[in-house]
């Protein structure tokens, strides 16, 4: 029964969105991290989503161009400029008295967090509805 596929699809969506929530949590936790050089500074991490197609999943059929879920192709680091602050008293300061903060934008992260949790809830609802429909199908004829 192909209704089982809905669980796989919603499950892949939930996995992707929870990874997105994880990166958001990591970014927010490191929003105020400082480093001694721009290279060591924390850069905001962002997951990359891509649709999984049936042909890629090894299924043959005419509907192979249709997607069968979502996957995370990788996690990229934001290329935004690293802010520097003049704090000669900071133990992390470099020779010129500068520390380098993270390029995390807390507003972006909060928006990301809301979007990810809404998408996660959507996937949960899809799964619940599919489950109820399957249970009703099992009760057929009663």
């Amino acid at each position: 029964m192909s209704m089982f596929k809905v669980f796989d699809i919603a499950g892949s969506g939930m996995a992707a969105q929870s990874l997105r929530l994880n990166t958001t949590a990591s970014n927010l936790a490191n929003a105020n991290s400082v480093a001694s050089s721009p290279e060591e500074a924390y850069r905001a991490r962002e997951p990359l989503f891509a649709a999984v197609h049936a042909a890629m999943a090894g299924e043959v059929g005419t509907a192979s161009e249709a997607a069968v879920g979502v996957r995370v192709t990788g996690v990229t680091e934001s290329q935004a400029a690293i802010p520097s602050h003049y704090e000669p008293g900071n133990p992390m300061a470099d020779a010129n008295g500068y520390v380098y903060g993270s390029n995390v934008n807390p507003i972006d992260e909060l928006v990301n967090m809301i979007s990810a949790s809404r998408s996660y809830q959507n996937d949960v609802e899809v799964m619940n509805s599919a489950k109820q429909l399957m249970l009703k199908t099992l009760d057929l004829g009663k």
Binding site: S2, V6, I9, G13, F49, A50, A63, V68, S119, V126
Partner: protein
């Protein structure tokens, strides 16, 4: 009662397959709501229905090449064609999923699926009555 697609349950057995395929397509759209460049898909029910109920000759899927298996009026849910959804408004990342539209479509699809189930249940009850003579 006798339908080209299924001798017992008429068109509802096939409709159930179509609703399942549609649930799958919409679940895909919702899972890919944040995927850049993803284009939303959906089943054109009118088209599939016309194919299933319009003409007996159209029912069996054509076998384009010799030796290719043809399906004989079963419910080939994998062969139901998907169409592209026309987006209500463009988005920066090329994604055409409108979450609210998909949620509404999924809810409507669930109701339709349950309606088909109800029709099949009624058919089973009727057959049971016919078999038992109304005594069972």
């Amino acid at each position: 009662m006798s339908s080209p697609s299924d001798p017992l349950f008429g068109i509802h057995a096939r409709a159930l397959g179509v609703w399942q395929r549609r649930a799958e397509a919409i679940a895909d759209n919702l899972a890919n709501a944040d995927t850049p460049d993803y284009k939303a898909r959906d089943v054109d029910f009118r088209k599939v229905l016309a194919e299933a109920g319009g003409n007996d000759a159209n029912l069996q899927l054509a076998a384009p090449s010799s030796g290719q298996a043809s399906s004989n009026g079963s419910t080939p849910t994998g062969n139901i064609p998907l169409e592209w959804r026309v987006p209500l408004q463009p988005s920066m990342d090329g994604n055409t999923v409108d979450t609210q539209v998909e949620q509404a479509a999924y809810a409507a699809n669930s109701v339709h699926y349950q309606a088909s189930l109800t029709f099949i249940t009624a058919q089973i009850r009727m057959l049971r009555t016919a078999i038992t003579g109304g005594g069972g």
